[in-house]
């Protein structure tokens, strides 16, 4: 969509006005500074998704809408997690982070801050795997997606 003030609120407003749900939304300018790319995760029946697509296309600032789940695509989300890490937990958490191919990016004598990238379900799995009582804080970006292979979304 056009990288213009208000474009984001138009999209968000459309979803709330029409009762569609936004599971996650991530947006930033692209290599072309006049354009922003937004990845929005929503759910609904085929009819609802068809309407969502049409309604988004109707917004003047939206240049192009594609449903990434129509084809093969890659999806990644970034999560930062601060966990309490003391005693034996420190090693256990470190091992878990390695298994999930994350990294510990900040350390204190009481905590780790972990960076983890993957599909949203992988991040969910990690949260499920750590002892919930040790989780102090999480922050997630929402998914970003791109088509697989040579196919590109171009304006």
């Amino acid at each position: 969509m056009e990288n213009e003030a208000g474009a984001l609120s138009r999209v968000a407003g459309l979803f709330s006005a029409r009762g569609y749900n936004i599971e996650s939304l991530s947006v930033a300018p692209t290599e072309d500074a006049t354009l922003s790319r937004m990845t929005l995760v929503t759910s609904g029946s085929d009819e609802v998704i068809e309407q969502v697509t049409k309604q988004l296309n109707k917004l003047i600032e939206v240049v192009k809408v594609i449903d990434l789940s129509d084809g093969n695509h890659i999806e990644r989300e970034l999560m930062l997690v601060k966990v309490r890490a003391v005693g034996a937990d420190r090693d256990e958490i470190k091992r878990l982070v390695d298994i999930f191919r994350g990294c510990i990016i900040d350390v204190t004598d009481k905590s780790y801050t972990i960076e983890l990238t993957g599909t949203s379900s992988k991040l969910d799995a990690f949260i499920g795997a750590v002892d919930s009582s040790t989780v102090l804080e999480t922050v997630r970006t929402g998914a970003s997606g791109i088509g697989r292979g040579d196919w590109t979304l171009k304006v």
């Binding site: 056009e2 208000g6 407003g13 006005a17 309407q51 309604q55 296309n57 003047i60 939206v62």
Partner: protein, 567 residues
């Protein structure tokens, strides 16, 4: 040519470039520089209303009754919030408007300045698009864009918010000749493959119906639709917004459909086997319960410029996205070559069925009544004006009777708030109609509840000597509310009685107009004739009508189209 102009001058120059003849507005702090420039020129005429809601409704009536974009000018803060009802009204009915609003200076935005509101935020859900001009260099392009977006594709209101300091800054004025927007390219031509499929389906039809809506009026496709329908010999129904798109006096016309549509139109919709929907959107007041509607097997062709209108409430078989006239032209061309393939015998049978439905005489009312029946007033208005008037309405029972009993043969003659259902629309809309069609007969059919929602505009009508004929169907009730309370709320008339009504005759007179009260059925026609003889006067006709009259047929909310309550 390198002379520098202020933002205010540029604003007016842009309006001139767009051939805007008149705008409707109300001044205030944030737009004073713009008003100053308006004062210094005489190409763009400014019409001073008495409330910003009326400015937008008037611009709306102007647009609906002409093919032009309506323009309104309001100040920041309350000027804009008052205008919102008008903007939402236009949005729901896809009316092309450009609303220019003043804003506090850019350096005051966000600081809760005097008369500041987040105009772009407040209006976002009820405009086709809105734009805040934060740099005077963007001003001309932005206004050009606004007119372009408002009038093309599925039309709609576009708001341009201009901070006061932008109207003071000076730059060299240049009006862009062309615009290109990568994110906005409305489709014009329909997909040829889809059109061919539609032709096959139309030719196979045994029980066809043409269902045409406001899109036919907005895209000036009435003649094409009429010619095509007549060529095919198909029955045609119009939505509330589509009245006049097909002539009401034509034998193929089965009346308006929907909640208060005719028996024959609703039955034909329900039991047709091929439905050709043109510029319509299957909304809740039109097809009733979509599940009930889908119980019958029929194939649907849907022609509309807005893809999001297609398969929104009802799944269609052949969607054709495109500009209605372009699609109809192509359809007509193809159908002409294959007309002999039509199933004439089946069509005859279908017409016989429709004629049986017609015999139900669903719009009958007691013509012998001693009390004025509202239907009679509309009928007489039709007779007296020979069906040639522009008729605006407010919202409620009177609106439905106007739609049922005034037989509109031409497009753009019936001006009402169909989507949003805005009481108070009728009078200001009639003002706009008057400015777009100065020599024409203009009637505003209203009720004593609705008219009071923008009654202050009687003053505007005086100032500009607008000879509107106000036809007030005065039943001392909010009629449609009362009807619902009678049918669905056990006759408990909660707050629907209009106590302490003004003396409308004196009220009209106090504004310098003529008032006529009519209490007997035998006086209705004479009063209307007298009113239209007063060519230069606004006449307020106060018809004291039957309080208990209801609008029939009626499809109750949530019910199916064929489940009508009949008189």
């Amino acid at each position: 040519m390198s002379e520098e102009l202020t933002g205010a001058e540029i604003t007016i120059r842009c309006l001139q470039e767009e051939d805007v003849e008149c705008i409707f507005g109300y001044p205030g702090g944030a737009v004073l520089f713009i008003y100053d420039e308006l004062f210094k020129q005489d190409k763009v005429k400014h019409i001073l209303v008495r409330h910003e809601q009326a400015a937008v409704h008037a611009a709306d009536g102007y647009a609906r009754s002409s093919q032009k974009v309506g323009v309104a000018l309001v100040t920041s803060g309350p000027g804009v919030t008052n205008a919102v009802t008008g903007i939402a009204t236009a949005y729901m009915d896809s009316i092309p408007l450009v609303v220019i609003s003043g804003q506090v200076p850019t350096n005051a935005i966000g600081l809760d300045a005097f008369q500041e509101v987040d105009t772009v935020g407040i209006t976002r859900p009820c405009v086709k698009h809105n734009l805040l001009v934060s740099d005077v260099n963007e001003l001309a392009t932005t206004i050009k864009k606004a007119f372009y977006i408002a009038a093309t594709g599925r039309p709609g209101p576009v708001l341009v918010d201009i901070p006061k300091d932008v109207t003071q800054q000076k730059i060299v004025f240049e009006y862009p000749e062309k615009l290109s927007m990568r994110s906005y390219n409305p489709v014009i031509r329909g997909n040829s493959k889809q059109i061919k499929k539609a032709v096959d389906l139309i030719l196979s039809a045994k029980r066809p119906v043409v269902y045409s809506g406001g899109g036919v009026i907005l895209s000036d496709a009435a003649k094409l639709l009429t010619d095509l329908t007549r060529m095919l010999g198909f029955p045609c129904t119009n939505t509330l917004m589509g009245l006049g798109g097909f002539p009401a006096t034509d034998k193929h016309f089965v009346g308006m459909l929907g909640m208060h549509g005719t028996y024959e139109a609703n039955m034909a919709m329900q039991y047709c086997d091929v439905l050709i929907a043109v510029g319509a959107r299957f909304d809740d007041r039109v097809i009733g319960n979509p599940k009930h509607f889908s119980n019958e097997n029929r194939k649907i062709i849907h022609i509309d410029i807005d893809p999001s209108s297609i398969s929104k409430r009802v799944k269609v078989d052949i969607p054709i996205v495109g500009n209605v006239p372009d699609v109809l032209k192509e359809l007509t061309k193809l159908l002409k070559q294959r007309q002999d393939e039509m199933d004439e015998k089946a069509l005859d049978e279908w017409w016989k069925q429709i004629d049986l439905w017609r015999e139900r005489d669903c719009l009958k009312f007691n013509r012998e009544s001693d009390i004025i029946k509202p239907q009679l007033v509309v009928e007489k208005l039709y007779d007296v004006t020979k069906g040639e008037a522009f008729v605006t309405s407010d919202v409620g029972q009177h609106q439905m009777w106007a739609a049922q009993f005034y037989k509109f043969d031409k497009p753009r003659r019936w001006i009402n708030s169909g989507g949003l259902g805005t009481m108070g629309f009728g009078l200001p809309a009639a003002m706009g109609v008057m400015f777009a069609n100065p020599k024409s007969k203009v009637a505003c059919i209203t009720g004593e509840a609705s008219i009071q929602m923008c009654i202050q505009e009687l003053s505007t009508c005086k100032q500009y000597r607008l000879p509107i004929k106000i036809v007030n169907l005065n039943n001392r009730y909010m009629g449609m509310v009362r009807q619902w309370q009678e049918f669905f709320h056990g006759n408990r008339y909660a707050e629907s009685y209009m106590d302490a009504l003004p003396d409308f005759i004196k009220l009209a007179e106090s504004y310098g107009h003529v008032g006529i009260r009519v209490e007997r059925p035998e006086d209705v026609e004479g009063a209307l004739q007298e009113a239209f003889k007063l060519k230069d006067q606004l006449v307020f006709l106060d018809f004291i009508t039957d309080q208990t009259e209801n609008v029939f047929p009626m499809v109750p909310g949530g019910k199916g189209l064929s489940e009508m309550i009949l008189v």
